[in-house]
Symmetry: C2
C-alpha cells in the first residue's frame, strides 16, 4: 500500500484506482464487499466505504442499490488520441485487395478470436427471443411470408415498427419514407447508385469503412478522402474547403461513432456540414448503423433529423444492434425515394419476409429498447476493458481513440510499423485484427489497426491483446524502434 494525502481511505481509493487502470478490476466488475476487504486488509469497514465513495466521486465506480459498488467504464482515453491526418486529399481510384474477404471469412472460423470484424458476441443478442417469435408464428402466417414477394418498398410491419422506433431517436419519418434492404451495406449501395454515376467522385471521411471503398470501386466511381479528427469527427471548415475545390457528386458519411475512428460530429458540426452540402446541392448518404450504441446519456443527432430538403439518404440496419443474420437494413432516401425503389426492384425485387417480420414483432413487444440499454452498457464496459488492456500490453507510444459509442477502437502505432505484418502473424495464432491498410485508398494508415469491442471480455480476450502486444513489440524490435524510454508498461 502506498500512502497518498493524509487519509487512509484516500490511499485505498488511489490503490483501487490504479488496479482499475491496469485492468485488474474490469469495467462492469463488482468491487469486493466491505466485509471481504475488511477481512483481507484489516481496515475498518467505514474506511473502505469512504474509499468507495471517494472512487464514486472520481467517476471510477458506481453504487448499485442493494448490490454494491461496480467499476464504471472509462470516461477518458487511457492513451493519447491518434494525430489528425494532415495529408492533402485528392480523388483517387480505390486500391484494395482480397483482404476484406479474408477478414469476413475469418468470421466463419470458430477458433478465431474475432478482433477484426465489428460484431457483438452472440450472448449479447436476444437470439432466443427472436427464435421464439419465429417459432410462435402460425403455419399460415409463415406460409404467407414464404409464398409471396414482400412489397418492393419493404415489409409493412417492419416499416411501421421502424418509424415508431426511430421517433424521438434517429429521426421522425413515416413508414412509407422507409425502404427496407438486405442489411445496411445494400442500403448504402442503392443510395450511392441513386445519387451518382460511374466516374463521379464520392467524398468520405478517412480512415473509412473498407466496404465503402470497395463498393465505390465496384461502382466505377472515385473516392475523395477527407481526414477525420479522431476526437471531433469531421471539421466543417475542412469539409467546405474540400467540396469547394473538388468536383464531388455526393458524400458518404458515418458521423456517429465513425467506423473505424469512433468519432462523433457535434450537432452544430452536423448542421454546418449539412448547410454547406445543401448550398452546393450535394446529397449526403448517412450511415448511422452505430448511432444507437452511444455510451453517454443521449443518442447523437442525425443529419436526417435536420434534413428539410430531402437531400439526406439515411441508412442503417440491425446487424450491430440486434442480430446480423436477420439481414434487416433500411434506408430513408428522401427525395431519391423513387430512384432507390426502382434500383431495388431491378436487383432483388424484395427482401426476405420472415426475418424482417420477426424484427418487427420484436420491436412491437417493446423489448428492443430494453435490449439496447443492456447492449450499450456491455459494449461500453468492453471498450473500457479493451482500452485498458491495450494501454497495458502495447508499446508506450501507442495512440488510441477512446470511442464515445459504437463497437471498435482505432489504434495508431509507430509510423514505421506495417500492421499487415501484425495481421498476418496474428492470424497464425488464430487472432483476427483489421489492419489500417484497408481503411484507405492510400497507404496513410498502414501503421494503424482496428479492434472489435463487441466481444465479451474475459481471460481469452486479455490473452489475445497480450499476444498482439508481443507481436507488435517484436515488430518494433525488428525495425530497431525504441518506444520512448521503455518497451511499455509491464503489468
Amino acid at each position: 500500500m502506498t500512502a497518498s494525502g493524509n487519509f487512509r481511505y484516500v490511499a485505498l481509493a488511489d490503490e483501487i484506482q490504479e488496479n482499475i487502470m491496469t485492468g485488474q478490476f474490469r469495467p462492469g466488475e463488482k468491487l469486493p464487499s466491505l466485509r471481504k476487504l475488511h477481512n483481507q486488509l484489516g481496515l475498518s469497514v467505514s474506511t473502505i466505504h469512504q474509499a468507495y465513495i471517494e472512487l464514486e466521486k472520481r467517476g471510477r465506480v458506481e453504487a448499485r442499490e442493494k448490490s454494491g459498488f461496480y467499476v464504471r467504464a472509462l470516461l477518458k482515453n487511457p492513451l493519447p488520441s491518434p494525430r489528425k491526418d494532415q495529408e492533402k486529399a485528392a480523388p483517387s481510384r480505390v486500391k484494395i485487395n482480397a483482404l476484406a474477404e479474408t477478414i469476413l471469412s475469418d468470421l466463419q472460423s470458430e477458433n478465431m478470436l474475432q478482433l477484426g470484424a465489428a460484431v457483438a458476441s452472440r450472448e449479447f443478442m436476444p437470439v432466443k427471443q427472436l427464435s421464439r417469435i419465429m417459432k410462435s408464428m402460425s403455419v399460415d402466417e409463415l406460409g404467407t411470408s414464404i409464398a409471396t414477394y414482400d412489397p418492393c418498398i419493404g415489409n409493412t410491419d417492419l416499416r411501421h415498427a421502424l418509424a415508431k422506433q426511430m421517433l424521438g431517436n434517429a429521426c421522425k419519418v413515416f413508414p412509407d419514407d422507409i425502404i427496407t434492404t438486405n442489411g445496411c451495406l445494400e442500403a448504402v449501395s442503392l443510395c450511392l447508385r441513386a445519387v451518382a454515376d460511374p466516374g463521379d467522385t464520392i467524398l468520405v471521411e478517412s480512415p473509412v469503412f473498407h466496404c465503402f471503398l470497395q463498393l465505390i470501386e465496384d461502382l466505377n466511381m472515385y473516392v475523395l478522402e477527407l481526414p477525420g479528427c479522431p476526437d471531433q469527427g469531421m471539421d466543417p471548415d475542412a469539409f467546405e474547403a474540400i467540396v469547394s475545390s473538388n468536383d464531388i457528386k455526393a458524400c458518404l458519411l458515418n458521423t456517429n461513432f465513425q467506423n473505424p475512428l469512433g468519432s462523433v460530429l457535434s450537432p452544430e458540426g452536423k448542421k454546418a456540414v449539412l448547410k454547406i452540402a445543401n448550398s452546393r446541392g450535394l446529397p449526403i448518404i448517412e450511415d448511422d448503423i452505430y448511432g444507437d450504441l452511444y455510451y453517454g446519456d443521449k443518442r447523437p443527432a442525425t443529419f436526417k433529423s435536420m434534413d428539410t430538403s430531402g437531400s439526406v439518404l439515411y441508412c442503417s440496419s440491425f446487424s450491430k444492434t440486434l442480430a446480423p443474420g436477420l439481414r434487416a437494413g433500411w434506408t430513408i432516401p428522401g427525395k431519391y425515394r423513387e430512384k432507390v425503389i426502382r434500383l431495388k426492384l431491378n436487383t432483388q425485387l424484395s427482401c426476405p419476409g420472415i426475418s424482417h417480420r420477426v424484427a418487427a414483432r420484436f420491436m412491437e413487444t417493446g423489448a428492443y429498447d430494453r435490449h439496447l440499454r443492456r447492449l450499450r452498457n456491455q459494449v461500453k464496459n468492453q471498450a473500457s476493458a479493451l482500452a485498458i488492456a491495450i494501454s497495458n500490453h502495447f508499446p508506450k507510444d501507442t495512440r488510441l481513440t477512446f470511442p464515445r459509442g459504437g463497437m471498435m477502437i482505432w489504434i495508431e502505432l509507430n509510423k514505421a510499423i506495417d500492421t499487415m505484418t501484425i495481421y498476418q502473424r496474428a492470424r497464425t495464432h488464430n487472432v483476427s485484427i483489421m489492419p489500417g491498410r484497408i481503411c484507405s485508398s492510400s497507404d496513410r494508415y498502414n501503421h494503424c489497426l482496428r479492434l472489435n469491442c463487441g466481444i465479451k471480455w474475459g481471460p481469452e480476450l486479455e490473452k489475445g491483446v497480450a499476444l498482439l502486444g508481443r507481436l507488435i513489440r517484436d515488430a518494433y524490435r525488428e525495425k530497431g524502434i525504441q518506444p520512448e524510454a521503455s518497451e511499455g508498461k509491464k503489468r
Copy 2:
C-alpha cells in the same frame, strides 16, 4: 351429336375432342365415368370405352390406373405462333418507364387477377411443409442463423443440397462452385457486373424479360436485342451474324422457356451458340429460372452443362418452382467466381440464413422432386386451359406461342393494337396483364402481351380471359379492324 366416319365411337371421340378444344373439358380434368356417360347418352359402355381409347391414341386424354380418363394438356398450339421478328438489331439505351413497378405492386393487391406477373398460385407451393420445417427448427438452430452472418458464398447446407439437386438435371457442379443470392435477379445483377462495365453492350434475346432491360439500364450498359424465334428460340446463325458485326461484351440469355416467348433452344442450338461465344471470348449469363418447369418428359439442357471453359455464368432461383418469399437464388459463375463473391461481399455481405436453410432442408427430404412433378403437371394443364380460353375469347387473328415449359404465354394481336391501352383498361377491372411494350427497348412489341399460366384454372380465370377478349375486341372496333372474316369464334 355429329357423325364422323363410320363408327359411333369415333363420332363420340370427335365430340369430346371438340369439347376439349373449346375448353368445356379442361386439361387435367377427369372425363365422366363410363357408367355416367352410358346413363346420359344411352350408348353402350363398350362404345364409350372405345371412344376414350381413341382419344388416348390421339393424345387428347390419358388413362390413370384405377382412376379413369383425364384430359391431357395440349400438345400443339391452338393458334398460329407469332411471326419471327425481322427488325434489324442495333445497340440502344433502354427506355422503360415506371410500368414495371406498377406491375409488381399489382402483385400485392389481393383483388387483382394476377395475369401480369409470372407467379404460381400459393396452393401449388409446399408452404405448409416449408413452414413446418421452419417451426421444427430448435431455438438453438434458429438462433445460430439469426446471430451470425452466413458465409458470403452462401449457406453451406443450401449449396450442398443444390449441387445434389442439379446433378443429372441442370448441370454437375460442386457446392463451392455455387454462390447463393437473394433471388435470381440478384444473381444476374452480380454476374452482369462481374463481366461487363458501364458503356458495354449486352446481347439479349428479344422480346426480353423487362427486369433484364432495366437492370442493364441501371448499370449504365447498352442492350442489343436479337429477335428470338417463338418456336425454336435463338437462331445460331443470326447469333453469329450479330456478334460478328457488333462490339458485344456479354450475352444474357434465358434459353429454356424464354421469358416471355416460352421458347427453348435445342441442345444442338445451344452447343452452336456456346461455340460461337467461346470463339469470341464472350461470357454467357444463363438465366435458367424456368428450366425445371418442362412440360415434356425431359429437362432441357443448359449451357452450363456444356461449359468447359468456365465462361458460362449460370443463374437460377426457387421463386418460380418453390416459393418466392424464400428469396433463395444462386449462381454458378465459372471463372468469374472470385469477382462475383467480391461484388456480393460489397453489396450485402451475406444472404438471409433461415429461409435458405429451410430450402436446403426441404430438398434434403427428397420432397422437392415430388413437388416439381406435381407443379409441372399443374402448370402444363393450366397453360393448355389458358391457350384454349385465349383461342375462344380473343379475335381470330390472334397468335400465341404455346410454351413447352415455364409459366407464361406470349400473345400477338393485330399490329394496330397497343396493348398498353388493354393493360390500362383491364386494370380498372382488376385484371393485370403484361403489355409487350416493356419487353423491349424498341416499340416493336407494342401489339403483344404476356399472360401468366401459374394460376389455378377456374371460372374466375375464364372470366378474366373473356374480359380481356372483350377489351381487345373493343380496341379492334375503335381502330376499325376486322379480324379476317368474323369477330372470332364464339363459344
